[in-house]
């Protein structure tokens, strides 16, 4: 962590900052925030274009590492926004994963008892 004083728009601004691979962490005027480092943002965008990875909005992913406890909907079912689809457990609390849109549940990629990683695909909904 470094204390860095910068001149911005003619004024001296002092804060603390640190870098963690591609993330810049800053503490300024009583607030902490993080941004993706500008110099890495461009290279990441290029890499993403090359791999042609697109995250569709109907993909529901695990918001944290944990264990699948219960599936509350089935393949082929029409689901409504806000409907409970899946229950998972992390840090001894239960979290319900809900549908983010109205649609048809066309894929369930996990089973109860599965350990899942952060960002892992769980369910795919085709929006209607």
């Amino acid at each position: 962590m470094k204390k860095i004083a910068l001149e911005i728009d003619g004024k001296l601004v002092t804060g603390s900052a640190a870098i963690n691979e591609s993330e810049i962490w800053v503490h300024l005027n009583g607030e902490t925030y993080t941004v993706e480092a500008v110099d890495t943002k461009l290279s990441n965008q290029r890499r993403r274009k090359q791999a042609n990875v697109k995250i569709k909005s109907g993909d529901l992913v695990a918001p944290m590492p944990g264990k699948i406890i219960k599936l509350s909907a089935s393949i082929g079912e029409s689901v409504k926004e806000g409907q409970t689809l899946l229950v998972m457990e992390a840090m001894k609390m239960e979290y319900t994963i809900k549908a983010t849109m109205n649609g048809k549940l066309i894929a369930i990629l996990v089973n109860p008892g599965d350990q899942v990683a952060l960002g892992q695909n769980l369910i795919h909904i085709e929006p209607t």
């Binding site: 962590m1 300024l28 009583g30």
Partner: protein, 531 residues
Amino acid sequence: MGKENQLNRGNDFLRTKGSSRNSSIEKLAIANRGEVAVRIILACNELGIKTVLLHSEADVATRAWRMADEKVCIGPAQTNESYLKIDSNVQGALSMGAQAIHPGFGFLSENADFAQACLDAGLIFVGPKPATIRALGDKISAKKLIENAKVPTVPGYMGGDQSLGNLIAEAEKIGFPVIVKAAAGGGGRGMKVIRSKSEAEELISSAQREAKSAFGSSVVFLEKYLDHAKHIEFQIFGDFTGKCISLFERECTIQRRHQKIIEEALSPSLTDELRIKMSRAAVSLAEAAGYNGAGTVEFLLQDEEFYFLEMNTRLQVEHPVTELVLGVDLVKAQILTAAKEFVLWNQESLVPRGHSIECRMYAEDPYNGGLPSTGKLVGLEWPEGPGRRFEVGFESGDEVTPYYDPMIAKIIVWDEDRPRAIRKMLRVLDETIVFGVRTNIPYLKAILSHSEFVHGSMTTQFIQTHFPDALSPRSLTDLQKTYAEKATPILRGIKRVGTELGADSENYLNSDLLSLQKTWSQSWSGSWRNV
């Protein structure tokens, strides 16, 4: 010489046997982790007791691990394979020649089988007797004890018929809203509020599953849900003779899903009359149970009536606020009591002064519903000063893992009165720096600034009413973006050509310091010698 020339010092700690020498316990094992393990190590260091940390594989390279005199790895990261394994903890303590074991809070601290296993192995257990833990630790049997002692309780169902059908029927009898809780543990786990019959089945089975996962038992009980109450708990302490006193109360009304976030001592809501009544109730329960060591009796207070909630037979997370208003060290008192070397403070000498507030710092994203945040800490700064206390489990460079409770530190302040304490806490939260994981600091600041909190009129509905969702995300200001951009090359160590004050002064400071250091080592290396 008359009394007017004497000061009432309340130096009862001097009555401790052997206050002039170290404790008879030479080595103590800590069956816990994080900031409480650090807390226990600090108390042991000051008592001249060697420490052994019983830790999991995920807690190597943490602050407690570095501070402990010795350490034993007792299992992998998953708590049920390490911190919750009675045998591994007992064997770990014995293998390093410890005479005593401190269970901290959570994990096995309220597990009577664990306390018994320690005693059977010849270890001193820092806590009450196994029989006491058993009688008070199970919420159902504790409630029965309280009823016999004629302390008011919340209407509920604590029977053995755990079938869903029966539990739903009993909930209807009590009258919604009803809360379902785990019998074998607390801390908000296995706890759900049922507002109508239609959601009873889903919530009861969910609570049973959580309870089984957290405490190994799916047994639950039901209680009428008091919907505008305050959570008031009394710290009690018993010495090894079984005499108990009250160290007054803490208010812990600010809770999210029954997990405490902010606690304070004393409560802004109690009259002295209520305080005395509730103190007496807490102490008589503790004495009836033959309690020794630190314990906490929790009540709900609604419309000037108080109801027993549960008794926790261990040190509590929020113990520092009591320590600061009374000037006591509860952990040292616990250890000395276990060693039979501490006789109680004189109740009259415990006069609370000022006001103390604690904030639990969680590694979570307040702009995303409190989603846990993990990662490597790349910067930590605690704004030390008078009346500021930090209980911290990690240091910069350590990794916050997803295996445990996301509470990574506690921030505590003391000041002359409650308004000052609130202002001080806001200032401290402004100045605290955590880089690498997101924290709930913005959330804490919003709560502390809310008029209902400032007035002290909050109830257990506070979070649900005023902060039901995540904080609204704010986009970065231009100043914030510009600052981060311009700081990046400095952080990467790339020298900048230009007239930016920051870049220049950074390099200026660095090169100047380097040349000064060279001068120091040159002049000192010649003249340094052992004395």
